[in-house]
């Protein structure tokens, strides 16, 4: 009943608006005013609107920067991240210069050259080869610099990992991440998706591969040592997942059926970052960044960067997966995996 009344009210409102517009239009027509074409008064007021908008726009942007600059990601916590931050800054400087100049020119010209008694006629100016050459060549040079600078970092990000890098697997499934450390041999054992068993072998590790016997499977959080490169092999079980480390400025997709890799060296421990951000509870995070289902928004993993000693101490508390299997086989109690 109320819904019906709402609809009737809406309908009557529409009729009212139409009638008002009709009255407005007829009265304008009687006065000889055209309500479709802009007149001199419109040119002046809309021209001023352009200029006012330009200033409002700049002020809004600056306000946003001032208001939220401390809530952005803190300083990059990896070697490549530091270069990335510099490259970002370099790009920002160019972008802001171009943005302010062109945006101001656009709206200022709108204001300055509105048609009026003072400016009744436009200047016939169909082309100027020299000008066009300038604004083809100058952007080309600037872009060349940006490309070269960018590709040098891209080379670092995607180049060969350090031979001493810590090899780790990140395994994604709906809706969590599992980490597998490669153990004493620093080599990951092979896996096969047909061997997956949620209770005993969630990653489908091949128990006949000796490289995998010392691999340690960890859930709930990921630890990495500061100052040592970490080389992460990414896999997914069911659908594509994103593996995004905002603080290390790196990400890659985890794709079912293939392995992808990222590597970087964490440079700031969690404890140091807490001092930097003045937040005693601050943590690094790994988040899923490729829509993967209804629980996508809950798919993340706490990341801890330890000192070298701290990392080894933490890892020593974890047992290889096949220990648990072996124990079970020999009648021992299974180690619960966290």
């Amino acid at each position: 009943m109320i819904k019906l009344l709402v609809y009737i009210a809406l309908f009557l409102m529409l009729v009212l608006i139409f009638q008002l517009m009709r009255i407005y239009q007829l009265s304008s027509e009687i006065k000889g005013k055209n309500i479709g074409l802009a007149n001199e008064k419109d040119n002046r007021s809309q021209g001023r609107g352009m200029l006012a908008f330009a200033f409002g726009f700049f002020i809004f942007l600056i306000w946003l920067i001032v208001r939220f600059k401390n809530d952005m990601l803190p300083v990059a916590a990896s070697d490549v991240g530091k270069i990335s931050d510099n490259l970002f800054m370099f790009n920002w400087i160019i972008i802001f210069i171009v943005f302010f100049i062109t945006t101001f020119m656009l709206f200022y010209f709108g204001y300055r050259y509105h048609k009026s008694a003072k400016n009744p006629e436009a200047y016939f100016y169909p082309h100027n080869d020299k000008l066009e050459l300038i604004w083809t060549v100058v952007p080309s040079i600037v872009l060349a610099v940006i490309i070269i600078y960018g590709l040098s970092l891209w080379g670092k990000l995607t180049g060969k990992p350090d031979p001493n890098a810590l090899n780790v697997q990140l395994y994604a499934k709906q809706f969590d991440f599992t980490v597998r450390y490669s153990g004493a041999d620093n080599q990951l054992g092979t896996t096969n998706y047909k061997m997956i068993d949620d209770a005993s072998n969630p990653l489908g590790m091949d128990s006949t591969d000796p490289k995998g016997l010392d691999d340690i499977v960890v859930k709930g959080e990921m630890h990495m040592p500061v100052g040592r490169e970490i080389n992460i092999q990414c896999n997914a079980r069911d659908v594509m997942h994103g593996m995004y480390f905002p603080h290390f400025r790196d990400q890659i997709n985890c794709v079912p059926g293939m392995s992808t890799f990222v590597h970087f060296t964490p440079t700031i421990t969690t404890d140091s970052m807490r001092l930097i951000t003045h937040d005693t509870a601050y943590n690094y995070v790994l988040i899923c960044n490729r829509v993967c289902g209804a629980g996508h928004y809950n798919m993340f993993l706490k990341v801890v960067v330890d000192t070298k000693e701290g990392f080894e101490k933490w890892l020593a508390t974890k047992k290889p997966q096949f220990d648990a299997m072996n124990k079970r086989r020999h009648g021992g109690t299974a180690v619960t995996m966290k």
């Binding site: 517009m21 009709r22 027509e29 802009a38 940006i146 891209w154 059926g257 996508h296 928004y297």
Partner: protein, 605 residues
Amino acid sequence: METHAHEATHTAEHEHHHHHEHPSQSFVEKYVFSMDHKIISKQFLFTAMFMAFAAAIMSVLFRLQLAFPGEKSSTMHFFLGDRWAKGGILDPNMYLGLVTIHGTIMVFFLLTGGLSGTFANLLIPLQVGARDMASPMMNMLSYWFFFISSLVMFISLFVETGPASAGWTIYPPLSALPQAIPGSGLGMTLWLSSIALFVVSSLLGGLNYIVTVINLRTIGMKMTRLPLTIWALLITAILGVLSFPVLFGAAILLIFDRSFGTSFYLSDIFIGGQALSQTGGSPILFEHLFWFLGHPEVYIVIMPAFGIMSEIIAVCARKPIFGYRAMIGSMLSIAFLAFIVWGHHMFVSGMNPFLGSVFVFTTLLIAIPSAVKAFNYITTLWKGSIVFNPQLLFVVGAVSTFISGGLTGIILADSALDVAVHGTYFVVAHFHIVMGLSAVLAMFGGVYHWFPKMFGRIMNKKLAYWHFWLTFICAYGVFLPMHFLGLAGVPRRYYTNDAYAPWAKLQDINIIVTCFAIVGVLAQILFFINFFYSMVKGTKSDENPWKANTLEWTTPIVPGHGNWEGDLPVVHRWAYDYSKPGKKTDFVQQTVPMEAGELDEGEHS
């Protein structure tokens, strides 16, 4: 075509009779299954307006969720009911569904079908001086495929398991496996069917546009005298014809994977407690195929906007478009480059890093012709005598968003920086501004500009000014703050942002964005009221209300089928002789013969 050539010889009076009083022209033939390009254009526009209205409501719903997660909302319940918003709280599956369908509708149905369909149909015959499209029949089919496609997409919102919800890019395996997300069941089947129909519509339309521009130009209408709108629409059609079939292929392979157990995209998957038998496929193949359309697609969206922007700026600044040839050249080079940049959507996909570097290079190259275009628009305004008709405001707005959004593209094109913000709100802000806003603003501008040609009436300027300022301010109010969410690492397509504690400090941004979004959507009511009121009751227009040069303003106020009474117009000059020195008026229509010794600016090399 022959019939049309034949018709050209008929007298005006005869034609009038033929088209208005011929007994065989029933209502259905004239307004429903019409073969008149002008009616088809309006059909595209109305359908696109309806779809866009639905998509805009969806955006309000998911914005409400993002600003006030977990709060009960009667609006949510009103639109989604108990099935998807029990107690007024949005279901996470429906959140993804809304995001997916919002994107799909806006990209395909509003900015491809709607924008190209409306303006290519309206303007190509009128501006090249043709009686209709090369094949009016194909043109009609193009609309009706579009209509069915829209219908299927709309219906998919109401199926039990929900609409497609794997994002508008529908990456498999998520889109292939109903076990992974309910929306990948019937919803995805309907999505794929709808898009397949859409491709058919787009191809029928596109081929027709190309043939018409190439073959049916009137006497004197050389390629170098074409208005930039036609150049833009021609290039758009070529892009569409070359890239849409690839999407069709991608969709067909996906249908095979979904229904017939093939493994084009699937490999080594363990889901729902069992290992699937498919091996050997690769989701990256899908990404390549999808983005081979997907990237040209964004130029299919922006190109017609470029054309509209060029035309309206020149008309309203009373000045020739600056650098006509450079504008054509930059559009052609953008179109060429559009085909070799798709990989910049895939820097994090795991494809070969060297390939990534190549895509960085080609992508940043696109910035050069884009910069040329922006500078040329600004120079056209310089020393103009600008008449602030509403369409000019929208077009200046579109240039502004093209600049703002284009500049952040420099960051995303740089693979090394892309990996730091890929898939975050920074990307959402970037493409909404550069592609969404620019194209939507230009489309509004186009509607205000060509409304007199469609309906013989002019829209109310006061309402139009209000519509512009509210829309433009809200547009930036929505998308400017989003960059900051992205720079804080907040990913897109998250139902809530409470996964990571530091993001809580950014909730203010989400509230600002949502407020602007709601006002921005409400502001469109002004447009709808103005549009429908003016359509029936608006101020009557004369033949050439904006004092423009192009051929559509030489027809009767509301042209009948066949467009010109009597002979087709003959063209003597380019479309941009505004404020030419030595002329009595500040515009010289293309049909006016050249005076002795007069230089044709379009011919200049």
